[in-house]
Symmetry: C2
Subunit: 191 residues, 2 copies
């Protein structure tokens, strides 16, 4: 038996995307977006939804560039702080002591200490309701070398990334590998 929770913005799993931008003075800012996800494989694109009242919105419109830095559990407090304050009156990097590093491909800073980084240029923005969706072409993905396994791919257990539980307003860690994609379902294929 299922219980109805009504018309609400709820889904699982939701990411913790730390969106990095520069403002008009070149001061680095970062905010947290759990509203977003991969948009397309070709060109590789990601979408994030931002309210027009956010400082990041203004920066995005001006620079048409952003990064997504993905925090590990170690940086929960810093990431959360990026979400509860505004670049309008707070230099979030200065307060947290994290390092804003200029991207290689776009005019936006990423969080040097976070293990996964995407560099994106805005290709489109679309307003629906309370949010504007910014679509960013992913120009590069960077991952800490110390997080890579011997096969050259990142090890989730080492990355220790976090997700966002919207109904509980909690962050959670990832668990263990549960199965192979494009493979686990083959048992239902008639031979």
């Amino acid at each position: 038996m299922k219980r109805s929770f009504g018309a609400r913005a709820v889904a699982y799993l939701l990411p913790v995307f730390v969106v990095g931008t520069y403002d008009h003075k070149g001061i680095p800012d970062a905010m947290v977006a759990a509203w977003g996800g991969i948009y397309s494989s070709d060109p590789p694109s990601i979408a994030i939804s931002i309210r027009p009242s956010r400082y990041t919105y203004r920066n995005l419109m001006e620079k048409m560039a952003f990064t997504i830095s993905i925090p590990s559990v170690k940086y929960i407090a810093e990431a959360d702080f990026f979400g509860i304050t505004s670049g309008m009156d707070t230099d979030k990097f200065a307060v947290t002591g994290l390092t804003p590093q200029l991207s290689e491909f776009v005019d936006a800073p990423f969080v040097a200490e976070f293990p996964v980084v995407l560099e994106c240029r805005v290709t489109k923005h679309i307003k629906i309701g309370a949010h504007t969706q910014f679509i960013g072409e992913i120009l590069d993905v960077k991952i800490d070398e110390s997080m890579l396994d011997t096969d050259g791919k990142p090890d989730l257990a080492r990355l220790q990334l976090i997700g966002f539980d919207v109904l509980r307003s909690e962050y959670y860690t990832t668990g263990s590998v549960a199965g192979k994609a494009f493979s686990a379902g083959r048992k239902f294929l008639s031979g």
Copy 2:
């Protein structure tokens, strides 16, 4: 030191959304989308990106309605099967033995056995590159009562949902609670 993975559709955490639709004959279909996420809080909306070649694309254009059923780890094989076959030539519900249940608010079926379900009506679709993004207004969220804690909210540890590791083509489970959102970062607020 970070290693570059180039321009690729990579992010963490990515969801496993099982998208349910009816075709023109009323036959229920379901496919897997890892490209998607919450779009807006108001109206509550979710976005999923689908290639025009998919059977679901045709169904979405015809019915303008879909569900998202979110599988627990127990149904990895079934969910994966939904992703590696096409409704064009396979009745995926019949093969897996899962139950297509008509939604309460939209003309689309959900997977009765999966613990979390969203019922959505398409409000917009936008083509960029290889994918078309369908934006769905979430008309209802339903969660299995057996997954709710005494506070009436779902217990992630009980839900046992899965995420998608795109660089490894693997599914993984969620781990444990790591911190409170809108709270963990307060330690950086000057008193």
